[in-house]
């Protein structure tokens, strides 16, 4: 699945997908849930906290 295809499926821009992959954008809970739903995975397997996050 390309970035554009993923973006289209969850109704965001490709730039947002790029930002998510780079870790420069923290998604809203709703967007995170949509992505998890799409991949049929628990949210915590897709998004997780780095030690240096806080």
């Amino acid at each position: 699945m390309t970035q554009q295809q993923l973006a289209d499926r969850i109704h965001v821009t490709r730039q947002t997908i790029v930002a998510l992959e780079k870790g420069s954008y923290i998604p809203s809970l709703l967007l995170a849930m949509n992505i998890a739903e799409l991949f049929e995975l628990p949210i915590e397997q897709i998004f997780f906290k780095k030690e240096s996050s806080l």
Partner: protein
Amino acid sequence: MTRQTVFRLRIFILLIIPFFAIGLNEGANGSLSGKIATYTFTLLFWGIHLFIKKYWLQPVYLRPSLQLFFFPELLARDERERQLTERAGMYAMQVTTLYIFFALMLTPLLPMNGILFIFGFLPFLTGLTYQLTFSHMEHADETII
């Protein structure tokens, strides 16, 4: 109308305002009343724009092209772009506040025309800051992995 077109239009119109003010001042031959009128006009124009937008104007009452001019945040295509728009607006307001602060500090040192010049360019500076901030943040996220 694309977002870039709207931003360019906003910058263009904001750039026009100070020239109106300077022209009005020249038209009044530099008299004190002319200078005061110019000063008031410039501030009122910007102030009224903000007031109308905040307390009266609703996007639903406007034609689509005008909606985009007054509410560029409506062009945001998703939540990330809405955040970028809000942050750009916040930075622009911070720069404006600093600008006013320095302008007020310099007021005693400047002739009236200098004051007019400073306040005349205030809207333009704010708009430009907004545009540059948004473009910078947008560009930073454009990198393709």
